[in-house]
Symmetry: C2
Subunit: 348 residues, 2 copies
């Protein structure tokens, strides 16, 4: 009997919000490693908002997942067999095998993990790509200064929670925006945010703005942009002169199609946003983590210490079984996760 692996492929491109029918669970024969290659079994799969963009056939910073192709994603995996001298059976590795149970790799871009140094799953979260995103975006484009005020959306997510905690460590006032009272309470009580506002409880951008104005008595110097939508609309008029907006994501707008390239209903908020950029002399800067790989060394020498001494906390939301990855991902896009969303694919 042929050994089989499982994977989740993109069945069709979403129209607006993705649905379970956009994904398909498939079985396929176990891939066979060639010369210099290794076979790995996936332990952890990370789910991240950027994956929504890969489902659309729109020009972006990366190619879309083809129809019928395995959904893209970072994983922690264990080596089963290896013809690569750098990796031995039993090694745990960080790789980008996608939504699957097993994969073959030539070892390029694969990093060995030490399971004794930190829980393996952190390599996909606070010590991985989302963590570096927070760290690099804050330093390179936020340029934080003690005494300033930072606002971050998706404040309890993998990126936002580290952004706010780093801001506190660097001596800033940190104000979060998150969906739901439970998340907001955690941001303040556990993560140490100065305040966290529930965007779901605010009927519109104006109401959210009033709450933000009260929580940010000295205005906003840095808005770390993860969400777009109502939060952005609320924040912009509160920005201080020479404020910085690192643009990392805009999850509220992803379902407009093509990561926000579709037609959006009016009013047109571009003129007033552009006007504020001018008169407040704001700096708005899009970035993606792969532009800042050179920051990894600083990141990994600084952040693990904060975790060990308790100044940085993280939270994981674990879904069990690859078959449940699509529903977990759909929930993530609606803010249904609480902390870094992971899928436990295999034992380890």
């Amino acid at each position: 009997m042929t050994e089989m692996m499982t994977r989740i492929v993109l069945a069709k491109r979403p129209q607006g919000s993705p649905t379970p029918e956009d994904f398909r669970l498939e079985e396929a024969p176990m891939p066979q490693p060639g010369a210099g290659e290794m076979l790995v079994r996936v332990v952890w799969l990370t789910l991240d908002p950027y994956m929504r963009g890969r489902m659309d056939d729109a020009k972006s910073y990366a190619a879309p997942v083809p129809i019928g192709g395995t959904m893209e994603g970072g994983t922690v995996a264990q080596v089963l067999t290896s013809d690569n001298p750098k990796f031995a059976p039993g090694d745990y590795v960080l790789t980008h095998s996608g939504w699957c149970s097993h994969a073959v790799s030539d070892g390029k871009g694969v990093r060995k993990l030490d399971p004794a140094a930190a829980p393996l799953s952190t390599a996909l979260g606070v010590l991985g790509m989302p963590g570096l995103t927070a760290f690099a975006g804050l330093h390179e484009h936020g340029r934080p200064k003690p005494g300033e005020t930072l606002v971050v959306g998706a404040a309890t997510g993998a990126v936002g929670s580290l952004v706010g905690q780093l801001a506190k460590i660097y001596g800033l006032r940190a104000v979060g925006v998150a969906g739901g009272a439970e998340k907001c309470a955690w941001a303040v009580e556990e993560l140490g945010f100065d305040a966290c506002l529930d965007h779901r409880a605010a009927p519109d951008a104006g109401a959210l703005r009033e709450q933000l104005a009260a929580a940010c008595p000295d205005g906003i110097d840095i808005y770390f942009e993860n969400v777009g939508g109502k939060t952005l609309e609320a924040v912009v008029p509160l920005m201080n002169q020479f404020g910085r907006i690192p643009v990392c994501g805009m999850i509220a707008w992803y379902d407009l199609g093509g990561l926000g390239m579709g037609e959006a209903p009016g009013p047109n908020l571009l003129p007033r946003t552009w006007r504020t950029i001018l008169v407040k002399r704001l700096s708005v800067r899009g970035f993606i983590v792969t532009d800042h790989a050179e920051r990894f060394r600083d990141f990994i020498s600084e952040v693990p210490e904060y975790i060990r001494d308790g100044r940085v906390k993280y939270r994981e939301s674990v879904t069990h079984g690859l078959a449940n990855a699509p529903s977990a991902f759909l929930a993530l896009l609606k803010g249904g996760n609480f902390g870094k969303q992971l899928v436990k694919v295999g034992a380890g």
Copy 2:
């Protein structure tokens, strides 16, 4: 008989586009200089788009002109009497007396001009605030590199014409957008732009985008933003990765009220603009010239030479008589000027 001076005051705040009724020509007794002060007569008044913002009672980087207050503006004037040891009768000076025939000054912020070095009017244009705006914005926020492509709107205006010519000197491809075939021909034939597109001949942003795409075969690295509106909408999708957008003005949107703070009809262009900022990793930076006063020394040591050797050309649009300043200003806001708009207020 009391000697009189004339001035133009803000009669009321505009609703949408300003009208002649928003201004009032007044006579008033000649102001009397006190100790350490001087009396000047205005020779040249400059009209610039930023003045539109001063007419609104909206928070901006500068206070609005009060109702009944003299309209603000830079002038070249001649000293009539002086109790200030730094200035003697007959001296020509650059000052900020506003829309008036005479003014009293204590000499603060006033700079003496050498009428033999350059035509006096250039101190209000290519060698003045608009020139420094172009120079500082291009260097600080455009960060031009040889071989790149720059697009600038209001390409034959005081700022845009210098931006494009400097870009050519620095080895970039320079593409302008202007209103009307005559302006576009001048930008290419006289100023040396590689191309200049007539936004009035383009029925919508999509048509303008097609023309821009043809004129910018390697995409757009720098968009020097003077105009907003249709031009911005056309440009954004053509921006290259790591492109820069110095935001200097947005004349197409000024009549929305409060420099674009009023309600604008949909569709909402903010999501797709924000998305492009993210995926192309654009840098969008608002600035005003007074943030970059430290650049004046570099500017004034570099640009006059380009004028002398013919690499930078400039054009002036002169209206005669202070009483005609409002109509000239209203025409400027509609693109009716061709080159730097000036008012000849007095002989000299």
